[in-house]
């Protein structure tokens, strides 16, 4: 797992967050929804792992979105 690959995912998540932060919506929920809709599971798992390891570089909204994704993924796994 390379740092470069991680950085790219962080940048992509921040871009997504920047868009939804500008909308009149629950930005964290929208970021989580976007990641779930468009990112393959390994990418989602990796960004969740990145959050767990300190969330370095993730914007506030992006981090909140990834946290929401993590919670939804966990809840789904429990079901």
């Amino acid at each position: 797992m390379s740092a470069e690959g991680e950085d790219k995912l962080v940048m992509m998540a921040n871009q997504i967050a920047a868009f939804f932060a500008g909308q009149h919506v629950d930005a964290a929920a929208e970021v989580a929804g976007h990641l779930k809709w468009f990112w393959a599971p390994p990418m989602r798992a990796r960004i969740i792992a990145h959050l767990a390891s300190g969330a370095g570089g993730l914007s506030e909204v992006a981090a909140a979105g990834v946290a929401r994704l993590r919670d939804e993924t966990s809840a789904q796994a429990v079901k």
Binding site: M1, S2, G5, F19, G22, H34, A40, M43
Partner: protein
Amino acid sequence: MASPRAPTETVRLTIDGHAVTAPAGASVLQAAQGIGDAIPSLCATGDDALKAFGSCRLCLVEIEGRGGAPASCTTPVAEGMVVSTRSPKLERLRRNVLELYLSDHAPHADHGECELCDQAKVHGVTETRYGDGGQTHDFLPCDESNPYFTFDPAQCIVCSRCVRACDEVQGTLALTVEGRGFGSKIAASQDELFLSSECVSCGACVEACPTEALVEKTILEHGPPQSSAVTTCAYCGVGCTFEAQMRGEELVRMIPWKDGKANHGHSCVKGRFAWGYANHRDRALNPMIRGSISEPWREVSWDEAIAHTAAEFKRIAATHGTQTIGGITSSRCTNEETFLVQKMIRAALGTNNVDTCARVCHSPTGYGLKTTLGTSAGTQDFDSVDHSDVIMVLGANPTDGHPVFASRMKRRLRQGAKLIVIDPRRIDLVRTPHVEADFHLPLRPGTNVAVLTALAHVIVTEGLANEAFIRERCDWDEFQAWAEFVARPENSPEAVELFTGVDPEAVRGAARLYATGGDAAIYYGLGVTEHSQGSTAVMAIANLAMATGNYGRPGVGVNPLRGQNNVQGACDMGSFPHELSGYRHVSDATARALFEAAWDVPIDPEPGLRIPNMLDAAVEGAFKAIYIQGEDILQSDPNTRHVAAGLAAMECVVVHDLFLNETANYAHVFLPGSTFLEKDGTFTNAERRIQRVRKVMAPKNGYEDWQITQLLSRALGYPMDYAHPSQIMDEIALLTPTFAGVSYDLLDREGSVQWPCNAAAPTGTPVMHVDGFVRGKGKFVLTAYVPTDEKIGPRFPLLLTTGRILSQYNVGAQTRRTENAVWHEEDLLEIHPHDAEQRGVRDGDLVRLTSRAGETSLRARITDRVAPGVVYTTFHHPGTQANVVTTEYSDWATNCPEYKVTAVEVAPCNGPSDWQQRYDAQARQSRRILPAEPAE
């Protein structure tokens, strides 16, 4: 401005004793069509494609109560008129006219192309009374400069059909009649050779010529065609239909099909002439395999190639898992082939790791239009432009990228429609004969969203929004939030000028014109989508059209100009990793159940990897194998070095293509593909029009591409047994609601249909969102400008933007292997005189183009078409490798690469870059093919 309308008034007249009803304003020649023998003519075209000219005097008629013998092509019908088209007097006059023409018409071989000779035969004129000693035009030299057609003035009758075709159909106005009386002759530009003139080689003049003065060289070389079939061009997203004319197994000519609903009988230099690649010596016709990319290729049988590929995929799936394999469908292949590739990836390999080249071009269109309107496609048909009062062109260069549609657009502009161009470059459309943009907003690359939001700011703050439309058709609360957002001072034209570089008054003027100028249409291209805010820009465009009520009728709408012939179709067919055909997400259990029942396999409910994700994963060792049909990602995708690293890291790369393309340098299996001339199927163009592709010759590689995918799928253990692509289309229709009514029978009957085509719209849907948006209420989305992370600075002070030119297509794999090379031998770097002078660069100098991603060398062209601070190039030539320089920044929503904004520096140099030298050596090594082993 009035839109063209069908005439409502008719007049009654008598022609040769037949009672005839004709529209008021029609000519006698037009009214007489279909009655007995047609009135002979030379300067008029039987299909009314050109305006009447009245020069040849062959269509003379007699009219009761009127003296003389007027030309029927320029005489309008009148109530009660009694017309005779045949009489001894008329016959005498016509024979005399023909004799005069023949007296100055050089004898030539009969290729069946000369209407003058045909008329002479019909009228029994075998010799002239004017002898052989008179003055003729035989002394004028034949112009053979154009690679595709000749102009022989000795056979020209100066009827002006070619001039009118260039004026009225193509809109280039490159031809004229020079001189007077006997000295009259057809001249290109300032009496130049065709090749060096303004002629764009569209072929309209050749098609119009009633003699063989202008004729295709292939006809002169091979003789007239013996058979033909109507098919669809495999170049751009306009989707022109052509009559492919054959002589035996050889294609001798492509004639634009007059009944083609996308092109109405017009063509461009690519579709009309640039099909020689199909027979090019570079074409690889045998399957090949090799153990590693450092080895030479070994030609093998189809059986061995398919078995080897399947074995490799199975091995990798067993070793690393199915999610380490993926595929790329081709926007150049048919709908049926694309559908089959994604089916094989999902059903036979069991993964959603499938993507298509739309990822790197119009994926933001899909996201943006689906979010705002509910459908991932343009709203109009091409004919809609005939009704537009205002045309806005953003980030597109239609005269180069979509030339046949550009001709339609220019015709409407010559009729008086207003034009707004938003583009960093002064594209040809900004100022071209009889067309001049009312506003050109030369924005800095990367600032589309800021300019679009500023346009919205003016519309809202000046009270120009269409409130009635918005209240009826859109979500009012979302509109109010959007209106409040765009009205903020920071979104005003004056505020954004700082970073857009656009004169605020021009923005205000353009906004007022768009909002109040009548029916307004937006056409946009990759200059909108290929940005980090590509999807946001598409939504900003959709917002503008909603705010001004420009949806749901001819003349308006939002129209993405698609790059490749079947980009729309590839997207429709489920090529994206998150969507099944018809844009239904893989997590949609209902949609998935349909496919699972039809395909008898479970479908993964999770999205797969997109192309850049696959390459990233490959570099990291988590992605091992890929099947690439009809794409050359090494040359077309951004940051070539990263693409190369990704491909080199894979254990099995399968390239299925016509040529050993650049990607094949990193491949382990090569499967030779078939051209569009060698297969049956359908393409879907930029206006959602589904059109037939018809096989006119046997595949030189042995199989049509859908058959090859089927062979591979069978070898993978998932049998497919289609006997004909029509059966694949039947399956597409069964599984895809927007295609539910589509069948080959319907297409043969209707010629073409635009999706949605279903019970509600049995013959298709030319204009979408007529009674409401597909998603229900139109959604206004806030479009805050977020600058790209790709910044200029002291090391890289210029912004590079990329595009294409008329004679070349995409990575040039096809067009570089045709005579089109005479117009474009190499990619050039356009640079403003100011920037060139600062760097000591002279026109034609070799320069080093450097970015954070890499560097390449190419020649400079100094021009003020680009603004200071901006440079521009194309990516048609692998020797240039323009994408060595572009970066991996991409659209936030779709990962569409930001090709249009790269910070660069330019400096004089004296040779290719290290990368170019290394790559050239590697490519030459990689293309080695071992001689086939002799048979026992």
